[in-house]
């Protein structure tokens, strides 16, 4: 029960860092992608809830870094390294990127899920962070929870139950 009491929540277009024994969770991922970057030896992990693939899509002056795949992952890595993780030991797990609604006359933005996944993978590859597990695509919402102690990512969907990767 003590362990359960300490779960750090990450909202939409948000990010945070967690140290063992606490857990980190984000709820209701649809087309958004949840990215976990972790260092198992230090038992430390960071999670971002990414909404859009690329910060160049932004029409705003000041941007929220956690919203875009490119800026979110860069900042997440920066923050986790500041917190003591070793950059060469970083690994990643990702989940999300569904297509929740099926429209026949879909605009490009309706395909945002797959595009988010692509962008996240591209950014992780550029930073040479290997993806150890992924659960992406489909058309269900996901809630994910990461345990930095075991490096396991728990994924819950409404109709397909729970699994750990």
């Amino acid at each position: 029960m003590v362990e359960l009491s300490n779960i750090i929540k990450v909202g939409i277009a948000d990010m945070n860092i967690v140290h063992s024994p606490a857990l980190i969770r984000t709820s209701g991922l649809g087309s958004c992608v949840g990215v976990v970057v972790y260092d198992q030896s230090k038992e430390i992990a960071g999670m971002a809830h990414v909404m859009l693939p690329d910060s160049s899509l932004s029409k705003m002056g000041q941007i929220n870094h956690a919203k875009y795949a490119d800026t979110a992952i860069k900042e997440l890595v920066e923050r986790i390294v500041q917190d003591g993780a070793s950059i060469r030991k970083l690994k990643a797990k990702i989940a999300g990127g569904s297509q929740m609604f099926q429209f026949s006359s879909g605009t490009d933005l309706m395909r945002i899920g797959p595009r988010n996944v692509e962008a996240v993978k591209k950014e992780l590859m550029a930073l040479r962070i290997p993806i150890m597990a992924e659960d992406v695509g489909g058309n269900s919402g996901r809630t994910i929870e990461f345990n930095p102690k075991t490096s396991l990512l728990n994924i819950r969907t409404v109709n397909k139950g729970t699994k750990e990767v």
Partner: protein, 225 residues
């Protein structure tokens, strides 16, 4: 109209949320109330008893606050999503807790003791829910259309039964490119509160950022200044 759209796009939609005043929010609320009135009439006709709809709030919220308002990110709901097309664009959501959605389905299809636990969910039930969303948003939009003289029409409804966070975020994609905030016209739907069969749903009306200017312009209260 096309020319105006282009012209308005030149004004950076960037800080549109900063330009919105309480006067604009009041106008949205008024439109919402009229739209809700029409929608309630349609709904009463389908269900054969008196339904009420009103717009308790028009608010500027962060994405997370909006998701909380719809029941929290992980709550499973039935949501009908429609794109608004025509002179102005936007998204509409009709969100019902599962229990309430089941009650609607029972009443519309004449089924007894309907439950979402038995998979697969019958096609007729899903169709009834989509149709409900369709009728509500259609009557809502037509009153907005009358008011603004803009030509607006809803897309074919898309239905999804899943977590709030997952479904609502699909409608925030357009907005999220220009803002971290959303103007929510929230509508409560229900029978008289005293009634034991009170149905409680949410109806969200979200215009795309560029479209706010178009709508306000046609109402004679542009966003300048």
């Amino acid at each position: 109209m096309k020319y105006m759209t282009q012209l308005l796009k030149k004004h950076k939609a960037m800080s549109y949320i900063d330009k919105i005043t309480s006067v604009h929010l009041d106008i949205l609320k008024e439109i919402g109330n009229i739209g809700a009135g029409h929608a309630a009439t349609s709904l009463s006709t389908i269900l054969g008893r008196k339904m009420n709809m009103n717009v308790p709030h028009v608010r500027i919220l962060s994405f997370n606050e909006m998701i909380e308002l719809a029941g929290g990110p992980e709550t499973v709901v039935a949501s009908v999503f429609l794109r608004i097309e025509g002179d102005a664009q936007g998204n509409m959501f009709f969100i019902l807790p599962l229990e309430q959605a089941a009650r609607f389905i029972e009443q519309m299809t004449g089924t007894e003791a309907f439950s979402f636990d038995h998979l697969p969910i019958p096609e007729l039930a899903l169709s009834a829910l989509s149709e409900l969303g369709n009728i509500l948003s259609g009557s809502y939009l037509s009153s907005l259309s009358d008011f603004t003289k803009l030509s607006l029409y809803p897309s074919v409804p898309a239905l999804c039964i899943d977590m709030v966070g997952a479904t609502v975020s699909a409608g925030l994609i357009e907005l999220s490119q220009v803002s971290d905030f959303v103007i929510v016209v929230e509508t409560a739907i229900g029978e008289d509160v005293e009634s034991s069969t009170f149905i409680n749903g949410h109806f969200f009306f979200l215009l795309d950022p560029e479209s706010y200017e178009i709508v306000f312009h046609s109402l004679g209260v542009p966003l300048h200044g």
